[in-house]
């Protein structure tokens, strides 16, 4: 009895944390393969800056996938389109904030537009967004007239993570007047984040105890400790480099908001419900069409933000930027355990999926793997993750 129970719990453990384990293995593998190079402050910094758009887009994509495995193929083109408009505006002397607002508004508008066809007219999401993928790629070219447009607005670059100095300045050292490293502001923010996280876990365990929920407290303590350790390591590395990249602020903000939406709000609940059983959800009085609409509007807004980040990172835009971004976002969600049939998936899983993809990308680059082979590896990782999802579902039934 206890033996079999333990077996089940070990199996369940591996099932639950497969991708975490895979991530650890991959990180360790590349750390060894690059002689520790992949864990250097510069590498970690690059990993975050380069993949900013993935986190932002994948957060929006997760909502779409939750509604029933629906995806948005247009985001890569929309990223390029919004960025094009913003860059042209700034190039012609528009105020930076006006440009930012325009990019977000256009992204949102596109999301609402596509969501209308998907939710109200019931055009299959795949087709509606495929047409968006073509159309907005073409429109980007029109806006840019085929040429690259550069950004010279230093403030824009600083705020959204482009150029040399896009790091949060060390206010603490400026204030105290002390020179040198590590970056104390960065460290302080990291430690505050860890403290808040630990306090939240304590509260959660407390509530669980009060409600007599039989959750493994040890498991939660270990998880919390592990995540805190990783956060501390990353903060420390960044503090001893140049500090917190500003793009991380945006990533954290987006991930935080989406974590909140998916776990705490009624709309989040409806996303899962529609993906789990649309008929039952509709018969419970939920307006399922609005749920779809929300998902696509939200990913449109995220595409606008990703456009800002992409333009800042590249200090400009050219008509080919953003190609394949949609696939990175989709892959992150699926690798992170979102079901291809909808109804299950978490922001935390998506983050792990995105980091896993990023680490593999960067590791292979550092080791010097041929870029074509890199795509093969990425493809296989995605396939393996989805096979795992399908198999583990089959076991249950």
């Amino acid at each position: 009895m206890t033996m079999s129970e333990r077996k089940i719990s070990v199996g369940a453990f591996f099932q639950k944390y497969t991708m975490v384990i895979a991530l650890v293995v991959v990180v360790v593998f590349f750390a060894i393969a690059t002689g520790g190079g992949s864990l250097k402050p510069g590498s970690i910094n690059n990993l975050i800056s380069q993949n900013g758009y993935v986190f932002v887009l994948a957060a929006g994509m997760l909502c779409c996938i939750l509604t029933g495995g629906n995806i948005d193929l247009s985001v890569g083109s929309v990223v390029c389109f919004t960025a094009s408009i913003g860059c042209v505006m700034m190039d012609r002397g528009a105020n930076m904030w006006l440009a930012v607002l325009a990019m977000l508004a256009i992204g949102l508008a596109i999301g609402v537009f596509q969501g209308f066809w998907i939710a109200k007219i019931r055009v299959p999401a795949f087709i509606a967004t495929l047409s968006g993928m073509y159309a907005f790629r073409g429109l980007s070219n029109v806006v840019l007239q085929g040429y690259r447009v550069d950004i010279s607005d230093e403030k824009f670059l600083f705020l959204f993570g482009g150029g040399r100095d896009c790091y949060i300045p060390d206010y603490i050292r400026q204030w105290t007047g002390a020179e040198g490293k590590p970056n104390l502001t960065c460290l302080a923010i990291g430690i505050i984040a860890i403290v808040i996280y630990v306090l939240m876990t304590i509260r959660k365990i407390h509530v669980q105890k009060k409600l007599n929920l039989h959750q493994s407290i040890l498991g939660q303590v270990i998880t919390t400790a592990a995540i805190s350790a990783v956060v501390f390591f990353v903060t420390w590395q960044m503090a001893s480099f140049r500090g917190l990249p500003t793009v991380l602020v945006w990533i954290a903000l987006v991930l935080g908001i989406y974590q909140y939406i998916t776990t705490k709000t009624a709309m989040g609940r409806h996303l899962y419900a529609v993906g789990g059983n649309e008929k039952a959800t509709a018969l419970s009085g939920v307006k399922t069409r609005n749920v779809y609409w929300f998902a696509y509007a939200s990913i449109g807004l995220m595409a606008g933000l990703a456009g800002i980040l992409t333009a800042a990172r590249a200090k400009g835009i050219d008509p080919t930027y953003g190609e394949g971004y949609e696939m990175d976002a989709i892959a992150s969600c699926f690798i992170g355990g979102a079901s291809a049939y909808g109804g299950t998936g978490k922001v935390s899983g998506m983050i792990i999926g995105a980091v896993l993809m990023g680490v593999i990308n960067q590791g292979m680059n550092m080791v010097g793997v041929d870029s074509n082979l890199q795509r093969v590896v990425k493809g296989l990782v995605l396939l393996a993750a989805v096979i795992f999802d399908v198999m583990s579902k089959r076991q249950k039934r």
């Binding site: 009624a266 059983n277 008929k279 509709a282 079901s339």
Partner: protein, 514 residues
């Protein structure tokens, strides 16, 4: 005595938690029409699924002896090879394809890589003629009516060289004229030596075509009646076999029954089929339910009960509605919106808990709160502690057996799933509860608990409409009973006047009159 073509010996089939068939025996002689009768859920279809290999050898106990040989079918193909062909109640035709394509679907003429269309259509036409269809086999199936589609199904079966034809409710979607034609066609086939098993609810049809009648009740064979006596078997005789069971203490007693004013009333309610808008699924139905009353609606499958309930529930079924809905004496103009229905304090607890009721991939807690999430949320943010408390409260109240309300609903037994579904709608705080087959597919003990819950609801002043195709349940639970058949209300009885026999008789009379 003719040769025994098929013998099913001591067939026992268990599903998780339910014994669907218990030592069933069936003997079919060559060249006869054998009718299989019984209430819904008695096990007729399960038995035929065992016979045709849908439930493969090894998943049931007992033997199938066909033509003197013990058969071990592992799929439908195996049984069809021997000439056992089943025609299911729901037509299995692809509407966009032609008749010929449908008839040879999975059984293509020519080779796998080059279908011989000439042979296909020529042979199809031949079989269509045998069933009396004038249509060309090149016509798309969607362009012909249901009666003809049923004939196409039969032609399809013949094309498989059927020796034993099983027809599962072949006339359930046909009108009187088409039904009669189909039965005559069966009699014609019999003359040519075909053996047939027919499953049907329409006892007049049984008396008309069957040589022998086997009655199944609660998963066991009750009796086999010979229809060759000097006088044809009376319908009363068959009904007695179908429903004659003991009824001691299967239903909790109602206490402190306080029946109040009329809570909900529908007048001349008519609903059309969403795909065939000319067809009336609910036809001029009028009914009412009082506060604190349990009203039973009895009818066979396809009588329009579910459609009636769902059309009342925010028009979630059907098109072209007419009629009036009054709640608390006031006429209600309800939009086509479930949200609106919930606002008017109506709840519909579906018969299809897995398909339309629950989200199996989510927890008990999430399912419990779904229909009334707004009461737990402020500004769109859910109070999760409160939600948990609510889920716990209903788990306690309904005695749902689960370690925690975080358990996924998909992992629960049928009875517990049904309790979660009830909890979900009780939490929506309705005044009127439309319960559609609230005890379908759950075991006797859980049924009793569900009955207690229903009684408690009525005691709390709710108006309960209980739709069921189990007569004893309707008789045991209701204060008043409506009887539906073919979309119409064909009768209303007080519980004390109702008996199984007079309800069945009402249905049969109305069926004949149509």
């Amino acid at each position: 005595m003719a040769k025994i073509l098929l013998e099913m010996k001591n067939i026992t089939k268990t599903f998780p938690g339910v014994k669907a068939l218990d030592n069933v025996n069936l003997q079919v002689e060559e060249g006869e029409i054998h009718a299989l009768v019984g209430e819904n859920g008695a096990g007729k279809s399960t038995l035929m699924n065992v016979l045709s290999g849908i439930y493969p050898y090894g998943t049931y106990e007992g033997d199938i002896v066909y033509n003197g040989q013990v058969c071990k079918f592992s799929n439908i193909k195996d049984s069809e090879k021997l000439g056992i062909v089943i025609i299911h109640q729901e037509l299995a035709l692809v509407p966009e394809m032609t008749i010929g394509e449908n008839m040879y679907l999975g059984n293509e003429r020519g080779s796998k890589f080059a279908i011989d269309w000439n042979t296909t259509y020529a042979e199809a036409d031949k079989y269509l003629k045998m069933v009396g269809l004038q249509e060309s086999s090149k016509v798309q199936v969607k362009t012909i009516g249901t009666g003809k589609q049923q004939l196409v199904e039969i032609a399809k079966a013949l094309a498989k060289q059927a020796k034993l034809l099983i027809l599962d409710e072949p006339t359930s979607s046909l009108n009187e004229e088409d039904s009669r034609a189909l039965l005559d066609l069966m009699l014609g086939f019999k003359k040519q030596g075909m053996t047939m098993i027919i499953i049907t609810h329409k006892l007049n049809e049984v008396a008309y075509v069957a040589d022998k009648i086997t009655v199944i009740r609660d998963g066991t064979t009750i009796e086999t009646i010979d229809n060759h006596g000097p006088e044809p078997v009376s319908e009363e005789r068959i009904i007695k076999g179908m429903v004659g069971r003991e009824m001691t203490n299967r239903f909790p007693p109602r206490q402190n029954v306080k029946i109040g004013d009329v809570m909900m009333e529908v007048d001349h309610w008519t609903v059309h089929h969403p795909l065939y808008p000319e067809r009336k699924v609910v036809d001029d139905v009028s009914m009412y339910v009082r506060k604190g009353e349990v009203v039973g609606i009895y009818g066979l499958m396809g009588a329009g009960r579910t459609e009636l309930a769902m059309s009342i529930f925010g028009q979630s079924y059907g098109v072209n509605f007419s009629g009036e809905l009054k709640i608390d004496g006031k006429p209600v103009k309800m939009k086509k919106s479930v949200t609106d229905a919930i606002k008017h304090k109506i709840a519909y607890v579906t018969e299809d808990r897995k398909g339309n009721g629950l989200i199996l991939s989510q927890s008990i807690k999430v399912n419990t709160s779904l229909a009334n999430l707004s009461s737990l949320a402020s500004m769109g943010v859910i109070d999760q502690d409160k939600e948990y408390a609510v889920a716990e409260e209903y788990r306690d109240k309904l005695k749902t057996k689960t370690p925690t309300v975080e358990q996924l609903v998909g992992n629960l037994s049928g009875g517990n799933q049904q309790k979660v579904l009830l909890a979900k709608w009780m939490f929506a705080e309705p005044d009127i509860m439309l319960l559609d087959e609230p005890t379908r597919g759950i075991d006797v003990g859980a049924k009793y608990e569900i009955y207690c819950i229903i009684n408690d609801l009525a005691k709390a002043g709710k108006s309960v409409v209980m739709i069921s195709s189990e007569l004893p349940e309707v008789l045991g639970m209701s204060d008043r009973i409506y009887i539906m058949n073919e979309g119409k209300m064909v009768g209303e009885m007080k519980a004390e006047d109702a008996t199984q026999e007079n309800i069945m008789a009402l249905i049969l009379q109305s069926g004949r009159g149509a």
